[in-house]
């Protein structure tokens, strides 16, 4: 990894189209209220429950639907998928060799702070501890980003907002968020939706017919009862959508569930068989 843009696995979105998102509760109103007060937001929830989609949707609402100058920001959302080798340098920036000189390259966090975008640090507990220290000064009344290597103290753009996500049930829970970090964020908790809502999501995202979407949602609900058998997260809505997409593409629903659910969530053959049997009795 030679460049920060690759190193941080950054994904920036221009958000020219409205992302589809089905609200589960009052999270949209809560996020908007937090944004108005520029309060940093912590999203908690299991994998594949829609946290990233929610942030994209909110970025679209707040930036693309806005009548303010925010509308002109080219990249309203900077998403960084955190991993265990991600350092503060990866977020803030670093000097690179260019020809015979060194040039400073902003990291995604710095770019968001300068431009007034939303910076979304996905699975922040995965990152190394020094990254959390960097975000502290951005998440209180100071709203500044100290760039140690350039000696710069960067004031955050008025539209900047920091959003992090965190998965309490994930196996790396040993890397817990420190209270000093956690208590800088308002926390929105996400879970897997109920069967009817999840069926609507599956139906929309995979374009399968409503009856099959409902059955897939039911399968997800039942398979989550087995989450203690090696897949603590349960089966994600994302995987159910995958199963739906495979079925919509002509694969038999049972086979689609086999590859997208049973074999995706566990390597335990007995659990795979049990999931296959659950799928078998629930599908017509």
């Amino acid at each position: 990894m030679n460049a920060p843009t690759q190193d941080t696995r950054q994904a920036a979105s221009r958000l020219t189209e409205e992302p589809w998102y089905l609200p589960l509760g009052d999270e949209v109103q809560m996020f908007e209220a937090a944004y108005r007060a520029r309060l940093p937001v912590l999203l908690k929830g299991p994998t594949g429950c829609g946290k990233t989609r929610f942030v994209e949707y909110m970025a679209w609402r707040l930036y693309r639907q806005s009548q303010s100058a925010r509308r002109t920001i080219e990249l309203p959302l900077m998403t960084v998928a955190c991993h265990e080798d991600l350092t503060a340098t990866d977020l803030v920036g670093r000097y690179l060799l260019s020809g015979n000189e060194t040039v400073w390259m902003d990291g995604p966090l710095t770019r968001a702070v300068r431009s007034g975008a939303i910076c979304y640090l996905d699975e922040v507990v995965e990152a190394r501890k020094d990254t959390t220290v960097v975000i502290h000064s951005l998440t209180d009344h100071r709203r500044v980003l100290p760039i140690e290597k350039t000696g710069e103290l960067l004031d955050a753009h008025p539209d900047f907002l920091l959003v992090i996500s965190y998965n309490p049930g994930y196996q790396s829970v040993l890397k817990d968020l420190k209270p000093s970090t956690r208590q800088r964020f308002v926390s929105l908790e996400f879970g897997y939706p109920g069967v009817d809502v999840e069926a609507a999501i599956i139906g929309h995202e995979s374009a399968v017919e409503a009856a099959l979407a409902h059955r897939l949602a039911l399968i997800g609900d039942k398979v989550r009862n087995l989450r203690e058998h090696g897949f603590d997260e349960g089966v994600s809505t994302r995987l159910l959508v995958y199963a739906g997409q495979l079925a919509a593409g002509g694969i038999s629903p049972r086979r689609a569930c086999d590859v997208a659910i049973a074999r995706a969530v566990t390597d335990d053959t007995e659990v795979q068989k049990a999931i296959a049997a659950i799928v078998d009795v629930l599908l017509p």
Binding site: T89, L226, E270, A274, I278, V281
Partner: protein, 658 residues
């Protein structure tokens, strides 16, 4: 379900032992509750004919099924049996207090019989609706069960009607049943109400009351006509007053259990928090009112109660209980694993001795400080600089200069230009498995309590009579110090370890094990990996007490399954015991120590294969004899002096994880 099997059936025979875990997961997934799936014994269902039953917590199933030639069909029979049993829970049958309900009518046995038939019909109909993929299996099983039903032609009138109802519930043709007895039409119409999508247990209660009232009315009006219609040529006892029929009903052929439905054990309400179910749709007939003096509470019926309602109390089903897990066991005599042989029950230890840890710290303050000092040496304190990396926090000047020189001299420049700072993190997960067998209750000789290598605490309170295993006697204290047992020393050692491990930052868990036979291996959890140390943890540790036997193999396997879920790079299992593995059925011969030793050795080899570093610490002086057969010499330690356990345990841990 098993027949004296012919060869085709034998080929397709499915054995419960082979699919037990699969079925358990299947049931848990669909119901959301954990059920213990067990092989039924002749007495499992109360000594009756059925081998399938449930009490809401456990499901008893036959040891094998060979009803069909194809194995998948027999597997389907198992699935239907499980679906039907969990259907009782999912559909609310266990929320119903059947005994109280039946006691409200003057013929409780009849009402009970009819209710169970109707309820089974409701469950199967719901099963068909909920699980469309199971319909083929259900149809096959229903047809098989229907084919085994007795003919109604030779039955007594009441029994014939009830048997007709059973056959209707199994999918018997309505027209054929009505042709055998016209009275069945009304009964089937009443029963059909429970086939509606929204039908509940209340509907089953209403339908069964309606059917019973029909039966009574019908038999009272024309008992001889019914006998004639049923082809019954005999008079006398068979046409006797139906009011006296309850007893024969229980023994009649029509009471033959439908095997895949099994027997339902619904007792009186197990909790006092009942709700009242009103059944307003049922109009109680005059004979019912007149002959229904029974009040389950022993009093007379409340005249204020509307005659059209029957109240029952119900309970909320509860499936909470210790979780159990099945593990294979190594049979060294046959050189094979016995599949799903041992059942490990996982119990959560809870204690109320919240002063335990402060007591341990006070008694062992010098040793505790020493342990912490030892651990401080192995705790990484600094950052590690990694030079010339492809990516890092800052450019490394030497590498940059070389790269510039290379570039100017038109050589390929090395891209490893960065300096990176990494913290040498410990990545250890350690499980401590403590023997809680009865032998750990053995008191430690008083001479050992004054071990010279266990100095008095540095700052012991002047009047603290106890320090270090309680052996020090304060001359001013009249009362003798309490006897310290092997288990007490183990607990002290663990407490000191845990106290020090906090500073080290390693993830660790504390478990105890004991048991009584292969079907009841106890695995006690004092602390799980992800839990933080708290007063509850210390109290749980204090609650470790001597219990029963030492079936070590399944306990090790269960600890390994827990370690497998930890993401740590290094995994350690330390077993603290006071003797060889033994249990009353650990092997064919109770005196055969070799069986337990071989199984434990096998479990330790499984640990090795799973990448877990295991270590056995035993305080049995004879430990060398069997430990060397269980594990390599570098993997065990025999401690002659039990009081040295805390210090030795610390050394072991340091050595293993440094």
């Amino acid at each position: 379900m098993t027949q004296p099997a012919h060869s085709a059936a034998n080929q397709g025979r499915v054995r419960f032992g082979d699919i037990q875990r699969f079925l358990t997961l299947f049931a848990q997934g669909l119901s959301g509750s954990f059920f213990h799936l067990k092989v039924s014994s002749p007495t499992a269902a109360g000594g009756r004919s059925s081998r399938i039953s449930t009490d809401g917590h456990s499901i008893y199933l036959p040891a094998d099924i060979a009803d069909f030639a194809a194995a998948e069909h027999n597997l389907g029979s198992y699935r239907i049996a499980v679906l039907h049993q969990i259907g009782y829970v999912v559909e609310g049958t266990f929320d119903f207090d059947l005994e109280s309900f039946c006691a409200r009518w003057h013929r409780p046995a009849l009402l009970r019989r009819v209710f169970l038939i109707v309820e089974d019909l409701r469950i199967d109909t719901a099963l068909r609706r909920r699980y469309p993929g199971a319909r083929a299996d259900l149809d096959r099983v229903l047809a098989h069960a229907l084919a085994k039903r007795p003919s109604v032609s030779s039955m007594r009138p009441l029994s014939a009607l009830i048997e007709g109802l059973v056959q209707y519930s199994l999918g018997g043709r309505r027209s054929e049943l009505i042709s055998s007895n016209e009275a069945l039409a009304d009964l089937m119409n009443a029963a059909e109400a429970v086939c509606a999508e929204e039908a509940s247990i209340d509907d089953s209660a209403r339908a069964s009351l309606s059917i019973c009232a029909n039966l009574e009315e019908y038999l009272r009006r024309a008992p001889r006509r019914v006998s004639s219609a049923a082809g019954d040529k005999t008079d006398g006892p068979r046409d006797r007053d139906p009011a006296g029929d309850d007893e024969f009903l229980l023994e009649d052929a029509s009471s033959l259990t439908v095997e895949f439905r099994g027997e339902l054990h619904l007792g009186r309400s197990r909790t006092q928090q009942g709700r009242q179910i009103a059944i307003p749709g049922h109009e109680t007939r005059a004979p019912l009112q007149e002959t229904a003096p029974k009040d389950p509470r022993g009093g007379t019926p409340d005249p204020a109660t509307p005659p059209a309602s029957i109240a029952t109390s119900v309970r909320r089903s509860s499936t909470t209980g210790p979780r159990s897990f099945l593990y294979d066991e190594w049979d060294y005599l046959r050189q094979t694993y016995l599949s799903a042989w041992c059942r490990v029950y996982e119990h959560r230890l809870r204690g109320d001795d919240f002063a335990f840890i402060s007591d341990v710290r006070r008694r062992h303050c010098a040793l505790g400080a020493e342990v912490r000092r030892q651990f401080a040496f192995i705790k990484p304190q600094s950052w590690q600089r990694v030079h010339r990396t492809i990516d890092g926090d800052e450019l490394e000047l030497d590498a940059v200069i070389e790269a510039v020189i290379d570039r100017r001299s038109t050589h390929a420049a090395d891209s490893h230009l960065y300096l990176r700072r990494d913290r040498a993190l410990r990545d250890v997960a350690a499980a401590f498995l403590v023997d809680m067998s009865a032998s750990t209750d053995f008191p430690i000789a008083s001479s050992k309590l004054r071990a010279p290598d266990n100095p008095a605490p540095d700052r012991a309170p002047p009047n603290s009579g106890l320090y270090l295993y309680g052996g020090h006697e304060d001359p001013t204290e009249a009362a003798p110090a309490p006897k310290r047992r092997v288990i007490d020393v183990s607990k002290d050692a663990l407490a000191l370890m845990c106290d020090a491990l906090q500073t080290l930052g390693d993830s660790f868990a504390i478990y105890g094990f004991s048991g009584d036979g292969r079907d009841n291996v106890e695995f006690h959890v004092a602390k799980e990996f992800r839990e933080k140390l708290s007063v509850r943890t210390w109290a749980a540790l204090a609650a470790i007490q001597p219990r029963r036997s030492t079936r070590m193999g399944p306990a090790i396997r269960h600890a390994l399954s827990k370690l497998a879920r930890e993401p740590a790079g290094m995994k350690v299992l330390i077993i603290v015991s006071d003797g060889y593995p033994e249990d009353h059925d650990y092997g064919m011969d109770r005196n055969d120590r070799e069986y337990g030793i071989q199984d434990t050795a096998r479990a330790l080899r499984e640990a090795e294969r799973a990448g877990v570093v295991d270590f056995c610490v035993t305080i049995d002086p004879a430990g060398n004899d069997y430990l060397r057969r269980m594990c390599s010499q570098s993997r065990y330690l025999v401690i002659d002096d039990v009081t040295a356990l805390p210090r030795e345990l610390t050394k072991v841990y340091r050595t293993l994880t440094s």
